[in-house]
C-alpha cells in the first residue's frame, strides 16, 4: 500500500506492505538505523520511537497505522539548525540536551538501548515530566538496559527535566 507520513519533520512516501513493521520501514526502507531491534516483541523498548506525541515500540506498529502521522526517531533529536544536511539524520557532534546529558552522566554505555531510552525520556519530558526519580523510572520501565543499572540514565533525564537537580543522585 501507499503510505505517507512525516519522519523527523520530513515527508516520506512509500509503497510497502501494510503490515510491515514501522521498525523495518525505518531501518530497511528509509535507512534510519538509529532505531534498534532488540527483542522484536515489545519487551525491551530498544525500538522506541515517538508516534505523534506518544512513545511506542516500532516493532509492534504496522505501517498502515502510521499513514498520515508523525514519527520522531533518535536521528531527529538534535536541533535541525545544528544538523548536517543528510537526508533524515544528524551528524555526530550536534547533540540535543538529553543526548548531551546521557553522555556526561555515563547514561550511555554499550549504546544498544540508548536510542530507545532517549525517545522514551523525550516523550516523558515533552509531556511535562519532572525531575522525580519514581516518575522517571516509571517512564522508562519499558526500556531495558543491561549496562548502566539505570542510575546514570535516571540522572541524565532528571538533569534535563530540572537543570537545578544536577547534584542529586537522580
Amino acid at each position: 500500500m501507499n503510505v505517507r507520513f512525516l519522519v523527523n519533520g520530513e515527508p516520506v512516501e512509500l509503497d510497502v506492505p501494510g503490515m510491515r513493521r514501522l521498525l523495518d520501514v525505518l531501518r530497511e526502507d528509509l535507512g534510519l538505523s538509529g532505531t534498534k531491534e532488540g527483542c522484536g516483541e515489545g519487551e525491551c523498548g530498544a525500538c522506541s520511537v515517538i508516534l505523534d506525541s506518544a512513545v511506542v515500540d516500532a516493532c509492534l506498529v504496522p505501517i498502515c497505522q502510521v499513514d498520515g502521522h508523525t514519527v520522531r526517531t533518535v536521528e531527529g533529536l538534535a536541533p535541525a539548525a545544528a544538523r548536517g544536511r543528510t537526508r533524515h539524520g544528524a551528524e555526530v557532534g550536534s547533540l540535543d540536551d538529553l543526548q548531551q546529558a546521557f553522555l556526561e552522566t555515563g547514561g550511555a554505555q554499550c549504546g544498544i538501548c540508548t536510542p530507545g531510552m532517549l525517545m522514551a525520556a523525550r516523550a516523558y519530558l515533552d509531556d511535562g515530566g519532572a525531575a522525580d526519580e519514581e516518575a522517571i523510572r516509571t517512564a522508562i520501565a519499558g526500556n531495558l538496559c543491561r549496562c548502566t543499572g539505570y542510575t546514570k540514565i535516571v540522572e541524565a533525564i532528571a538533569r534535563v527535566a530540572n537543570p537545578g537537580s544536577m547534584g542529586d543522585r537522580g
Binding site: M1, P17, G18, M19, R20, R21, D24, E28, G40, E41, G42, E43, G45, S48, L51, A54, V55, V56, D57, C59, L60, V61, P62, C64, Q65, D67, A120, A123, Y124, T138, A139, I140, A141, G142, N143
Partner: protein, 294 residues
C-alpha cells in the same frame, strides 16, 4: 522480517463489518500489541488477512450512559488511566491499566484487544468480570450484548462469531460498589501476570466506614482471577463464603481456603501451580483484611 499478511484499513464501522464478513476469515488488529507479537514470533497459524481497526472512530470514546459506563473498544490503557469518568466509576480498571506493560504498551494496547485476545493473563479481564461488564459486539447483522461471564469460551477463544467485532464494553454503575485489584508478576512493569485478582462487593450495614472499610456485611460479591485457569474465571466458592459475611479474619481464612481449593492453576514459564495457588489465596486474604481494616 516478520510475516506480512494482507491488511485493509476501513474508516467506518459499516466498512469494517463488511470486511469482517468477507472470506477468508480476517483477524482484526487494533493497537497491535498482541497481533504483532504473534506474527513476529510465528505463534500459531498467521491469519490469511487482517482488518486494521485503528481508523474506525466509531470504536473510540468513553461516555456515561444512564446506568453504565461505556468504554469504546479502541480505548487505550493510557486513555483509561487519564479518564476522569473511569476513575470515578471503575477505579480498579485504572489500576489494572497502569500495571500493563509500560508506556509503549499502554499507548497502544486497547480494552477491546485485551478482550478479543482472550489471554487468561489479560490484566483488565478479572476487573471486567468482577464489575459484571457486558461486551457489546457488532456485525453487519446487528449488535448484541454478551455478559462477560459467557464471553470467554475457552483458552484464547471468545463467544464472538468470525464476522463480529467488539464495539465497546459496558460497566454497570452500582451505587456503593467497591472494587479492588491486585497483580502479582516478576516485576512491576512489563510483566505478564503470575496471578491477577479483582474483588467487588457492596457493603451493607452501619459499621461500613469511608471507602467501604469496617465490619459491614458484603453483598453482590465477585471474586475474579486471571492466570490460574485456561480463561479468566470467577471463584464461585470464595464468593459463596463472602456473600453476606463481614470482612473478619475468620471470613478471610475461609474465603482464602475456598479459593485455593477451587482453582487449578498450572506450571508454566512464568510460575508454578503451587505458587499461584498460595499467592492467589494470600492476595484475597489481604484484600479482605485491608477492607476490614484489621
Amino acid at each position: 522480517m516478520a510475516v506480512e499478511p494482507p491488511v485493509e484499513s476501513p474508516r467506518t464501522l459499516a466498512e469494517a463489518f463488511e470486511l469482517m464478513a468477507t472470506e477468508p476469515p480476517a483477524r482484526p488488529i487494533a493497537g497491535g500489541t498482541d497481533v504483532m507479537v504473534q506474527l513476529a514470533g510465528e505463534i500459531g497459524e498467521p491469519p490469511e488477512r487482517l482488518v486494521d481497526l485503528w481508523r474506525v472512530d466509531g470504536l473510540r470514546g468513553i461516555s456515561l450512559e444512564p446506568r453504565a459506563l461505556s468504554i469504546g473498544a479502541l480505548t487505550t490503557y493510557t486513555q483509561l488511566r487519564r479518564s476522569a469518568l473511569v476513575a470515578e466509576v471503575a477505579p480498579a480498571l485504572v489500576e489494572a491499566a497502569a500495571t500493563i506493560g509500560a508506556a509503549q504498551i499502554q499507548n497502544r494496547g486497547t480494552v477491546g484487544g485485551n478482550l478479543g485476545n482472550a489471554s487468561p493473563a489479560g490484566d483488565t479481564l478479572p476487573v471486567l468480570l468482577a464489575l459484571d461488564a457486558e461486551v457489546v459486539a457488532g456485525s453487519a447483522r446487528g449488535e448484541r450484548s454478551i455478559p462477560i461471564g459467557s464471553f470467554f469460551a475457552g483458552y484464547r477463544r471468545t463467544a464472538l462469531t468470525p464476522d463480529e467485532l467488539i464495539l465497546r464494553v459496558r460497566i454497570p454503575i452500582v451505587p456503593g460498589r467497591e472494587a479492588r485489584f491486585r497483580k502479582v508478576g516478576t516485576r512491576r512493569a512489563q510483566a505478564i501476570s503470575k496471578v491477577v485478582l479483582a474483588v467487588a462487593w457492596r457493603a451493607d450495614g452501619s459499621a461500613a466506614g469511608a471507602g467501604g472499610a469496617g465490619g459491614g456485611s458484603w453483598r453482590g460479591v465477585r471474586v475474579a482471577l486471571g492466570s490460574v485457569a485456561p480463561t479468566p474465571i470467577r471463584a464461585s466458592a470464595a464468593e459463596a463464603v463472602l456473600e453476606g459475611a463481614s470482612p473478619t479474619p475468620e471470613t478471610a481464612d475461609r474465603a482464602a481456603e475456598a479459593l485455593a481449593a477451587q482453582i487449578s492453576p498450572i506450571d508454566d514459564v512464568r510460575s508454578t501451580a503451587g505458587y499461584r495457588r498460595l499467592v492467589a489465596a494470600r492476595v484475597l486474604h489481604r484484600l479482605i483484611r485491608d477492607a476490614g481494616a484489621w
